[in-house]
Symmetry: C2
């Protein structure tokens, strides 16, 4: 059983965490369909365990506080407007540092990489963030070597995804690493993730 802790907070961007949440929880649906027990334990955790109001005002309950949760095999830090106050939140930064010591994978989506950076987890590492956040990242003089034009970057056990929807691709890739590419494709099929943006890909613009 792989324990995956997704940290959420006021001002978290909705799809940043629900995309990976859908991918990771679908692993269990595939396992159960194959007559196997759950492969992952996925939980939404906030600093105090109380509900959070996301950037776009969706309100979500959590499964626990950082103080009463276990050691996570995977931690995921999403992005959103609410990452800015987190950069000065010593309790959360310390929790991230502690978790990162034993976690198999430390991951972020979008501006979540700024929080990992502020916690000192990106020093000397290749990382990425939302494509419109590169300048702000640099202005804050946060550590890490920013890579553009990618969906996600893996450097050691640190995986940082680009903006919002990129968390889905990152979580699928990680599913392939933690289980197998076959499992990742089964999850992809269950999500019918055969994306086709209707007005041309961004790269074509």
């Amino acid at each position: 059983m792989i324990h995956i802790g997704i940290f959420i907070f006021d001002g978290v961007e909705e799809l940043d965490f629900v995309g990976p949440y859908e991918v990771f929880t679908m692993i269990n649906e595939v396992c159960n369909y194959q007559g196997k027990p759950d492969g992952v334990d996925v939980r939404l955790i906030s600093q105090d365990g109380k509900q959070v109001t996301c950037t776009k005002k969706m309100r979500v309950l959590t499964d626990g506080a950082i103080s009463d949760t276990i050691d996570w095999d995977v931690i995921l830090m999403p992005g959103g407007e609410g990452t800015r106050p987190l950069l000065d939140n010593e309790a959360v930064l310390k929790w991230l540092q502690l978790q990162a010591k034993n976690a198999k994978w430390v991951t972020s989506v979008c501006t979540g990489s700024m929080v990992l950076a502020k916690a000192g987890l990106t020093t000397g590492k290749k990382i990425t963030t939302h494509h419109l956040n590169f300048e702000k990242f640099r202005q804050r003089e946060l550590p890490g070597e920013l890579v553009s034009g990618v969906r996600y970057v893996c450097d050691g056990n640190l995986i940082t995804a680009a903006g919002v929807s990129a968390g889905i691709d990152m979580a699928l890739w990680l599913t392939g690493q933690m289980f197998s590419p076959t499992m990742a494709r089964s999850v992809q099929s269950a999500m019918q993730y055969d994306p086709d943006p209707p007005y041309a890909n961004l790269k074509e613009n």
Copy 2:
């Protein structure tokens, strides 16, 4: 101001509704960035206005009940395991029929099209559903001409999307119809939706 009502219920699939929610609410972020007022009012509504527990156990608060909500310009019915009980829920089916009379767009994601079908809104129409749900749809002898191999189908003002993640593509396409392709591309950019499934596209499998 376009009023978009997303119906959620116990057993709704998380990404089915959060994908379109992210797309639609991002319209306002683009509007505000351009110095314009909000273009949409997006709300999550449930039958009784109480919180719902999704298929994968995420718990979400709602913005209202079907009884106290306005006439929607767009209604969206997501899918998930919880659609099965909805097929026998007369109150919800009647509400859908009433809303569909005046709505500019009637939409669904995944198995949500079964609920629209049970409400009689798909008769004689081209529709789609999750790629693993075609047989079940037919077994229930629900009306509608199922189309496979597509992300979504538009027939008149009815738009039905394929499984789970297809709701994102459908919502982006609808954004282009309601506003403009330029707006849809701005939303796509804000979501950094330049998808790249890591272990090959489903169509290539």
